[in-house]
């Protein structure tokens, strides 16, 4: 399943309003909770934080990819959030993170999990596309950027 199949309007939030790393993680989790993609926010928070303790998922160029395996989902689940102001996410380059992909996968679905993350890795090579995403003003605009007309 391609990443684009998972990106629906109800799992995209623009703008994110949180200002710290823990708050951003909670806000991303809330996107999925409000879209009925998850029922247990605490389990998800624990799984994400456990991964973050190993090393921040804040990358370069303003992207962050918090991800985890968790039984809180039965299938690959993605949320996207954009923080125009940026948030300190302990990123590799020390700069604020603005574009967030929260990726959750069931423990027995490593294949789709890896492919979704690999797609994001590929996307992150295009600075033009990243800039366009970070400047998107709405969920509709984000969806349009991912899809062909």
């Amino acid at each position: 399943m391609a990443l684009v199949d998972l990106i629906k309007k109800d799992v995209v939030k623009v703008p994110l309003v949180s200002q710290t790393k823990p708050e951003i993680i909670d806000e991303l989790i809330d996107i999925l909770y409000n879209a009925s993609r998850i029922k247990d926010r605490e389990d998800v928070r624990e799984a994400i934080n456990k991964r973050e303790e190993l090393g921040s998922t804040g990358l370069e160029f303003g992207i962050a990819v918090p991800h985890a395996k968790t039984n809180a989902v039965g299938t690959l689940t993605v949320a996207i959030g954009i923080s125009p102001a940026g948030v300190d996410f302990d990123a590799l380059d020390g700069k604020p993170s603005k574009l967030f992909f929260l990726i959750l996968a069931a423990p027995n679905q490593s294949g789709p999990h890896i492919e979704a993350l690999a797609e994001i890795a590929k996307l992150s090579k295009s600075r033009t596309f990243l800039t366009a995403l970070m400047n998107a003003k709405s969920a509709d605009e984000v969806l349009d950027l991912f899809r062909l007309d």
Binding site: A2, G55, L117, A118, A121, K122
Partner: protein, 161 residues
């Protein structure tokens, strides 16, 4: 004279789409009396890309590779059982590496004349529409390709055997 389909390979990646492909491939192998192989690729290329992109840590790479190997065993075993229930003989094989390259290689090595795959993404992405490895394989293989749509129909064909 041998028919057009003698040697089928169904690509399995654990997705629901690939399970529908397995149902269909078993039904097709039964009706054409073709040889059938289920093939799974442990996608270490993607794992390496994720470490290079620093999305994965080294320890995650090992952890996920272990998961992928377990997934391969589980899904190939499951497809084997599906075939066995319908008295269809199936070989199972796996490879490690780049998905579409391993599929292309296996098709050549085994002289496959039909590759069966699950349905591809409905939505065309603006961003590198060929990223999907199964789609890449479809375009690159030397044999004909059957894309299984309509999971319900695939199940009907299988359960009707």
């Amino acid at each position: 004279m041998a028919g057009p389909i003698n040697n089928i390979m169904v690509y399995i990646d654990g997705s629901e789409e690939s399970m529908a492909a397995a149902h269909y491939a078993i039904a097709l192998a039964s009706s054409t009396r073709s040889r059938l192989e289920a093939f799974y690729v442990i996608n270490t290329k993607a794992l390496n890309d994720l470490v290079k992109a620093r999305i994965f840590l080294q320890e995650e790479q090992l952890d996920y590779e272990h998961d992928l190997r377990e997934d391969a065993e589980r899904y190939l075993k499951h497809v084997g059982e599906l075939a066995q229930k319908k008295n269809v003989r199936i070989d199972a094989a796996k490879a490690v590496g780049n998905v579409h390259q391993e599929i292309v290689k296996r098709v050549k090595e085994r002289e496959i004349d039909l590759l069966v795959i699950g349905e591809l993404s409905h939505i065309r992405s603006r961003r590198d529409e060929f990223y999907d490895e199964t789609e890449r394989a479809m375009r690159a293989v030397s044999c004909s390709v059957l894309i299984v749509k309509d999971e319900d129909r695939a199940w009907e064909l299988y359960s009707g055997l």
